[in-house]
């Protein structure tokens, strides 16, 4: 109903394939960004930053990563958390062992390290499909965590295996306040989300989707299966890696390998299932949902003063049933629901 598309005609392919071809969408996005960059920092409380906003952003990033691999390239992975761990610990070690290295560079290097691991464990994807592949990613999950716990070098011989992330300093500015960390995270996430969006709407993205939808046809039309899958693994891992680094540096501050357990992998998988496979927007929606739901449940439990343990079990059950629910009812998740709603608005007042 708020869409006024008449007269928004395109005279170039660039404008036709623009990120947001519809004016109203552009405006909407800009408003959204304004809210996140300007409004929220003014109003939000430290709790809001540390408990909701920052984790939400980080999970979104990880979800984008997994979505690239699973949602777009169709390769199921249960090892996102492992990629995150690699990213985090690599960043830590780069910072540690190369003094005075800019943190952003360290983040990138962390991502790259994750990407390399991703490529290594992506290799089997040429020969094995479906959940066989999932199993190899599971193997990686365990293997990586084992390495990080068993090889003290990674944790700089910290007895507890816990590492303390170095201070985040960019061009002399120290990101110690929650707001500053939030803004840093937000900037990185927005930028990488934009890049992801670009990748999935160009040839790269088409190659992934082609492999996902019909690998034989994709090969016949000239996409190299292995190369395509490996790029997906690499980029996915890179995104997860950076997310993992942020997880350590702007969210927790101190982490142990166990923070990146299989459970985290599953949660990220749930995010994209609920949010929407093959949709960048979905990654955000899913992350938001998965961040808010537990909080909601906690409130609920508090409100009826039920035993605290129930909250966590309730959480597990809700997640579980939601996954099943979405897989059955709306396999494309919240993103699709959003899309349907949008279509309705565009056609308003007509039904079709």
């Amino acid at each position: 109903m708020f869409y006024r598309e008449a007269g928004q005609f395109k005279t170039t392919y660039q404008s036709d394939s623009a990120l947001f071809p519809i004016l109203q969408d552009k405006i909407g996005v800009l408003v959204g960004l304004a809210i996140f960059f300007l409004a929220i920092p003014l109003v939000a409380t430290p709790y809001l930053f540390s408990a909701i906003l920052i984790p939400f952003l980080i999970f979104s990033l990880a979800a984008i990563g997994l979505n690239i691999l699973t949602g777009y390239a169709g390769q199921l992975s249960l090892g996102s958390a492992a990629f995150m761990a690699v990213g985090a610990f690599a960043t830590y070690n780069f910072m540690l062992r190369i003094p005075g290295k800019p943190i952003l560079v360290a983040f990138i290097l962390g991502g790259i390290s994750a990407a390399l691991v991703g490529i290594a464990f992506g290799l089997p994807s040429l020969r094995i499909r479906g959940f066989y592949l999932a199993v190899t990613t599971l193997a990686m999950q365990f293997f990586v965590l084992w390495c990080l716990t068993k090889i003290p070098w990674f944790t700089n011989y910290s007895p507890s295996g816990v590492i303390r992330a170095q201070q985040v300093v960019i061009l002399g500015y120290v990101f110690d306040s929650q707001v500053s960390r939030y803004l840093l995270t937000l900037s990185i996430v927005s930028l990488m989300a934009l890049m992801a969006k670009n990748m999935v709407r160009t040839n790269l993205g088409r190659s992934w989707m082609a492999i996902r939808d019909m690998d034989v046809a994709a090969e016949v039309i000239g996409f190299r299966p292995l190369q395509t899958k490996l790029t997906a693994f690499a980029i996915s891992a890179f995104y997860c890696g950076v997310a993992g680094a942020l997880f350590a540096y702007t969210y927790l501050g101190t982490v142990e390998p166990e923070a990146y357990s299989l459970d985290l992998s599953f949660r990220i998988l749930f995010m994209i299932i609920i949010g929407g496979m093959g949709s960048i927007l979905g990654s955000f929606l899913g992350a938001a949902f998965m961040t808010l739901l537990p909080i909601g449940l906690n409130m609920f439990v508090h409100h009826f003063s039920l035993p605290m343990t129930l909250a966590s079990n309730l959480e597990l059950m809700t997640f579980g049933s939601l996954i099943i629910f979405f897989l059955i009812v709306e396999p494309h998740g919240l993103a699709r629901l959003w899309q349907i709603g949008k279509e309705k608005l565009r056609l308003w007042p007509f039904p079709y």
């Binding site: 170039t12 392919y13 670009n198 989707m209 016949v220 000239g222 996409f223």
Partner: protein, 263 residues
Amino acid sequence: MSGSSKLDTDEVILDMRNISLSFGGVKSLIDVSFDLKKHEVRAIIGPNGAGKSSMINVINGIYRPQKGEIIYHGKSRKSMHPYYAASTGIARTFQNIALFRGMSVLDNIMTGRNLKMSSSMLMQALYWGPVQKNEAKHRRKAEEIIDFLEIQHIRKTPVNRLAYGLQKRVELGRALAAEPEILLLDEPMAGMNVEEKQDMCRFILDVNDQLGTTIVLIEHDMSIVMELSDRVLVLDHGSKIADGGPVEVRNDPQVIKAYLGSN
């Protein structure tokens, strides 16, 4: 428009020699040889399970024959490889539609351009100027094909929402987008109604004589084969039983027998 008149050259561009293929004992092709002349429409016919699709799958390297050689671009090889086939200008459609179901018509056709696109991952991530221009350039190509196949109205529709006939058309479009030298069509008209078939025939002929594409065509409808093809290869139970012009093939007693025997 069709007919041997346009066979300006007799240059053989693909020569399949004594191809034999089997799956775990099941013989699918037995010592089949045939050649492909530049710019011709080559039909492969035969009863179900005669090995027609297998032959196409051998040509573009999805199956590797156990015996035989393939002479292509002057080089002799044991078997093709899909990527090699694609990159040297062999495109195809599939018997059961093999579109990328999650994508729009336009994107499906754009995938056909991928071998002609070249920009690095990072460039695409940043959507750098060159990438945009590149995308636009190929979009134009894709649009020309859309225009050619008269599917402007469904340009941005997800393919899985399309009617069967249109999906077939889009698949042809995807193959054409690769500007192939050889086009393999595996029953492009299966399950179509009369007018859809007529359209498809028109497109195939136009492709053949406007773009000069060499076409290998699997088709059941004899009348269509007669109308379209310059030469016909007849397979039955994996072996070649006839090869020649449409008319002579139709009158070949063995062929008649095979067809009557088959159903």
